[in-house]
Amino acid sequence: MYRGQSGQWSWLLHRITGLGVLLFLLVHIVDITLIGFGPTIYNDAIVIFSTGIIRVISLALIASLLFHAFNGVRIILIDFWPAGYKYQQQMFIAVLVLTIVLFIPTVFYIMAPVFGVCPQGSCANPAL
């Protein structure tokens, strides 16, 4: 953690969301590897991702991914266009707004099956 500079919150959030997404990626590689053990083992294992609790955790993952992606674009823009530094604070707010705007419909699509609504046509909400 470094203090006293305007980018500190964007730096801290970028690091935390990045490490969170990496942690999920490592878990995800393991769960996908189970497909090499046949349909029964794979389907029995990945059913956990459809439960309510893991759906909520997936939302945290998606929010992290959205923020990390948009803040990454903000960083690259200023890296290669130094005058953009003047707008770094405004761009940080834009990143947060864009993350929230895209996150809201995502919450609906991911959580609807928990309440028995299937926006995609077919869905399931198994008990843990």
């Binding site: 389907n43 459809s50 690259i76 530094y85 995609q120």
Partner: protein, 153 residues
């Protein structure tokens, strides 16, 4: 004692917008490559990873992404290449980030070497696990059977 805990790792400086500054020209080729790799892979992942999340969680509910779904998808080699690119870029972008976080917080040279070696081992293991699964998958064959069939068994 203080000098013994120093390492050759370049001192990183943070910009006022919350990113690391580009290594100075000729400072360290590897660190310069790392700096560019974050940005190039990041732009690619913005599209590839977000599209992956959209396809697996939004346009199809995650509960439908079962074995037969994967089998149908992997009948098209495009999705195997797609997943292989996603796996490779995401894993090395992420672990390179973890490497920098570790270098920021671990002062002792011995621990740094231990942790960096562990990260290298994790990178290799997870990349092999993931890429073997993506490349070797055959419907209703286990990975072991697919590997054995390479040797005519």
């Amino acid at each position: 004692m203080a000098t013994e805990t120093q390492t050759q790792t370049p001192q990183r400086t943070i910009t006022r917008y919350g990113a690391y500054t580009k290594p100075a020209k000729g400072a360290n080729g590897w660190e310069t490559f790392s700096w560019y790799f974050f940005r190039v892979s990041g732009v690619a992942l913005l599209v590839i990873a977000l599209a992956h999340v959209f396809l697996m969680h939004i346009s199809t509910d995650v509960s439908q992404t079962v074995y037969d779904f994967v089998a149908a998808r992997y009948a098209n080699p495009f999705w195997r290449v797609y997943d292989l690119v996603l796996l490779t870029l995401a894993l090395f972008h992420g672990l390179n980030g973890l490497r920098i976080a570790c270098e920021d917080y671990i002062q002792s040279r011995g621990w740094r070497l231990t942790v960096l070696s562990a990260l290298f081992f994790i990178a290799l293991t997870f990349w092999l696990m993931g890429s073997m699964t993506i490349i070797m998958f055959q419907p209703n064959h286990t990975l072991a059977q697919s590997i054995m069939s390479l040797f005519g068994r």
